[in-house]
Subunit: 102 residues, 2 copies
Amino acid sequence: MARTPPHPDTFDLQQVLEALVDPVRRSIVTQLDASGQDIKCGAFDIPVSKSTATHHFNVLREAGLIRQHYVGTSRMNTLRRAELDDAFPGLIDALITRPAGR
Amino acid sequence: MARTPPHPDTFDLQQVLEALVDPVRRSIVTQLDASGQDIKCGAFDIPVSKSTATHHFNVLREAGLIRQHYVGTSRMNTLRRAELDDAFPGLIDALITRPAGR
Protein backbone atom coordinates (compact mmCIF):
# COMPACT_ATOMS: atom_id res chain seq x y z
CA MET A 1 0.00 0.00 0.00
CA ALA A 2 1.27 3.39 -0.94
CA ARG A 3 0.19 4.91 2.35
CA THR A 4 2.06 2.40 4.49
CA PRO A 5 5.38 3.92 5.55
CA PRO A 6 8.58 1.87 5.19
CA HIS A 7 9.73 -0.47 7.95
CA PRO A 8 13.23 -1.90 8.43
CA ASP A 9 13.71 -5.65 8.12
CA THR A 10 16.74 -5.71 10.42
CA PHE A 11 17.49 -4.11 13.74
CA ASP A 12 20.48 -2.05 14.82
CA LEU A 13 21.13 -1.96 18.57
CA GLN A 14 22.50 1.57 18.40
CA GLN A 15 19.42 2.87 16.60
CA VAL A 16 17.08 0.95 18.92
CA LEU A 17 18.80 2.42 22.00
CA GLU A 18 18.69 5.93 20.55
CA ALA A 19 14.95 5.44 20.11
CA LEU A 20 14.45 4.06 23.60
CA VAL A 21 16.56 6.64 25.44
CA ASP A 22 13.72 9.13 25.07
CA PRO A 23 11.17 8.79 27.89
CA VAL A 24 8.21 9.70 25.68
CA ARG A 25 9.17 7.00 23.20
CA ARG A 26 9.64 4.47 26.04
CA SER A 27 6.17 5.45 27.23
CA ILE A 28 4.71 4.74 23.79
CA VAL A 29 6.37 1.31 23.78
CA THR A 30 5.18 0.62 27.32
CA GLN A 31 1.59 1.58 26.48
CA LEU A 32 1.59 -0.62 23.40
CA ASP A 33 2.98 -3.57 25.33
CA ALA A 34 0.53 -3.10 28.20
CA SER A 35 -2.49 -2.90 25.91
CA GLY A 36 -1.54 -5.89 23.81
CA GLN A 37 -3.39 -4.23 20.93
CA ASP A 38 -2.76 -1.77 18.15
CA ILE A 39 -3.22 1.85 19.26
CA LYS A 40 -3.88 4.79 16.96
CA CYS A 41 -1.48 7.73 17.16
CA GLY A 42 -4.01 10.06 18.74
CA ALA A 43 -4.92 7.68 21.56
CA PHE A 44 -1.64 7.57 23.48
CA ASP A 45 -1.28 9.28 26.84
CA ILE A 46 1.84 11.34 26.10
CA PRO A 47 2.55 14.95 27.10
CA VAL A 48 3.59 16.29 23.69
CA SER A 49 2.05 18.08 20.73
CA LYS A 50 0.69 16.17 17.76
CA SER A 51 3.64 17.13 15.56
CA THR A 52 6.15 16.10 18.23
CA ALA A 53 4.28 12.84 18.70
CA THR A 54 4.50 12.21 14.96
CA HIS A 55 8.28 12.66 15.16
CA HIS A 56 8.48 10.15 18.02
CA PHE A 57 6.38 7.60 16.10
CA ASN A 58 8.64 8.01 13.08
CA VAL A 59 11.78 7.42 15.17
CA LEU A 60 10.24 4.29 16.68
CA ARG A 61 9.15 3.00 13.28
CA GLU A 62 12.51 3.69 11.63
CA ALA A 63 14.31 1.87 14.46
CA GLY A 64 12.02 -1.12 13.99
CA LEU A 65 10.22 -0.86 17.31
CA ILE A 66 6.74 -0.38 15.85
CA ARG A 67 4.84 -1.07 12.67
CA GLN A 68 2.35 1.43 11.35
CA HIS A 69 -0.63 0.93 9.10
CA TYR A 70 -3.77 2.86 8.28
CA VAL A 71 -7.32 1.99 9.22
CA GLY A 72 -9.42 4.60 7.47
CA THR A 73 -7.80 7.89 8.42
CA SER A 74 -6.26 6.56 11.63
CA ARG A 75 -2.60 5.60 11.69
CA MET A 76 -2.38 2.49 13.88
CA ASN A 77 0.74 1.39 15.78
CA THR A 78 1.83 -2.16 16.51
CA LEU A 79 4.73 -3.10 18.80
CA ARG A 80 7.15 -5.47 17.05
CA ARG A 81 7.57 -7.31 20.32
CA ALA A 82 8.36 -10.82 19.11
CA GLU A 83 10.92 -9.60 16.57
CA LEU A 84 12.55 -7.35 19.17
CA ASP A 85 12.72 -10.13 21.73
CA ASP A 86 14.37 -12.31 19.13
CA ALA A 87 16.93 -9.66 18.17
CA PHE A 88 17.62 -8.31 21.69
CA PRO A 89 16.53 -10.86 24.30
CA GLY A 90 15.45 -9.20 27.53
CA LEU A 91 15.85 -5.62 26.37
CA ILE A 92 12.20 -4.62 26.08
CA ASP A 93 11.31 -6.45 29.27
CA ALA A 94 14.08 -4.61 31.09
CA LEU A 95 12.77 -1.25 29.93
CA ILE A 96 9.03 -1.65 30.40
CA THR A 97 8.85 -3.34 33.78
CA ARG A 98 8.76 0.06 35.45
CA PRO A 99 6.87 3.26 34.67
CA ALA A 100 8.47 4.98 31.71
CA GLY A 101 10.89 7.74 32.52
CA ARG A 102 11.67 6.66 36.06
CA MET B 1 39.20 8.53 50.94
CA ALA B 2 39.52 12.02 49.58
CA ARG B 3 40.66 10.76 46.20
CA THR B 4 37.69 8.46 45.73
CA PRO B 5 35.11 10.21 43.52
CA PRO B 6 31.43 10.17 44.59
CA HIS B 7 29.13 7.32 43.60
CA PRO B 8 25.33 7.36 43.59
CA ASP B 9 23.49 5.06 45.98
CA THR B 10 20.41 4.83 43.78
CA PHE B 11 19.89 4.31 40.07
CA ASP B 12 17.81 6.31 37.63
CA LEU B 13 16.77 4.44 34.48
CA GLN B 14 16.89 7.58 32.36
CA GLN B 15 20.44 8.38 33.47
CA VAL B 16 21.53 4.76 33.02
CA LEU B 17 20.13 4.68 29.48
CA GLU B 18 21.76 7.99 28.61
CA ALA B 19 25.05 6.46 29.73
CA LEU B 20 24.52 3.24 27.80
CA VAL B 21 23.33 4.82 24.55
CA ASP B 22 26.94 5.75 23.77
CA PRO B 23 28.77 2.88 22.02
CA VAL B 24 32.13 3.69 23.66
CA ARG B 25 30.53 3.55 27.09
CA ARG B 26 28.78 0.28 26.23
CA SER B 27 32.16 -1.04 25.14
CA ILE B 28 33.68 -0.11 28.51
CA VAL B 29 30.85 -1.92 30.31
CA THR B 30 31.21 -4.93 28.01
CA GLN B 31 34.98 -5.13 28.58
CA LEU B 32 34.53 -4.91 32.35
CA ASP B 33 31.90 -7.63 32.34
CA ALA B 34 33.93 -9.90 30.07
CA SER B 35 37.06 -9.58 32.17
CA GLY B 36 35.33 -10.11 35.49
CA GLN B 37 38.04 -7.97 37.06
CA ASP B 38 38.75 -4.33 37.80
CA ILE B 39 40.42 -2.57 34.86
CA LYS B 40 42.43 0.63 35.05
CA CYS B 41 41.33 3.53 32.88
CA GLY B 42 44.34 3.30 30.58
CA ALA B 43 43.88 -0.38 29.82
CA PHE B 44 40.59 -0.33 27.91
CA ASP B 45 40.48 -0.92 24.17
CA ILE B 46 38.51 2.18 23.15
CA PRO B 47 39.11 4.47 20.14
CA VAL B 48 39.12 7.81 21.97
CA SER B 49 41.60 10.23 23.50
CA LYS B 50 42.51 10.04 27.18
CA SER B 51 40.47 13.15 28.01
CA THR B 52 37.42 11.84 26.15
CA ALA B 53 37.82 8.51 27.92
CA THR B 54 37.87 10.32 31.27
CA HIS B 55 34.57 11.96 30.35
CA HIS B 56 33.05 8.60 29.48
CA PHE B 57 34.24 7.06 32.78
CA ASN B 58 32.73 10.00 34.68
CA VAL B 59 29.35 9.55 32.95
CA LEU B 60 29.37 5.84 33.76
CA ARG B 61 30.33 6.47 37.39
CA GLU B 62 27.73 9.21 37.87
CA ALA B 63 25.00 6.97 36.43
CA GLY B 64 26.02 4.21 38.84
CA LEU B 65 27.33 1.77 36.25
CA ILE B 66 30.89 1.63 37.59
CA ARG B 67 32.76 2.25 40.81
CA GLN B 68 36.18 3.86 40.71
CA HIS B 69 39.02 3.67 43.22
CA TYR B 70 42.72 4.35 43.15
CA VAL B 71 45.51 1.81 43.37
CA GLY B 72 48.65 3.92 43.53
CA THR B 73 48.31 6.33 40.63
CA SER B 74 45.96 4.10 38.63
CA ARG B 75 42.24 4.77 38.67
CA MET B 76 40.58 1.37 38.70
CA ASN B 77 37.07 0.64 37.41
CA THR B 78 34.61 -1.91 38.76
CA LEU B 79 31.32 -2.80 37.09
CA ARG B 80 28.42 -2.56 39.57
CA ARG B 81 26.90 -5.63 37.97
CA ALA B 82 25.00 -7.12 40.90
CA GLU B 83 23.46 -3.79 41.88
CA LEU B 84 22.49 -3.07 38.28
CA ASP B 85 20.95 -6.50 37.82
CA ASP B 86 18.93 -5.89 40.98
CA ALA B 87 17.74 -2.46 39.84
CA PHE B 88 17.16 -3.27 36.15
CA PRO B 89 16.83 -7.04 35.69
CA GLY B 90 18.04 -8.15 32.28
CA LEU B 91 19.18 -4.75 31.06
CA ILE B 92 22.95 -5.27 31.20
CA ASP B 93 22.64 -8.79 29.82
CA ALA B 94 20.57 -7.46 26.93
CA LEU B 95 23.22 -4.89 26.06
CA ILE B 96 26.43 -6.89 26.41
CA THR B 97 25.48 -10.11 24.69
CA ARG B 98 26.63 -8.68 21.38
CA PRO B 99 29.68 -6.62 20.36
CA ALA B 100 29.27 -3.02 21.48
CA GLY B 101 27.96 -0.66 18.84
CA ARG B 102 26.41 -3.29 16.63
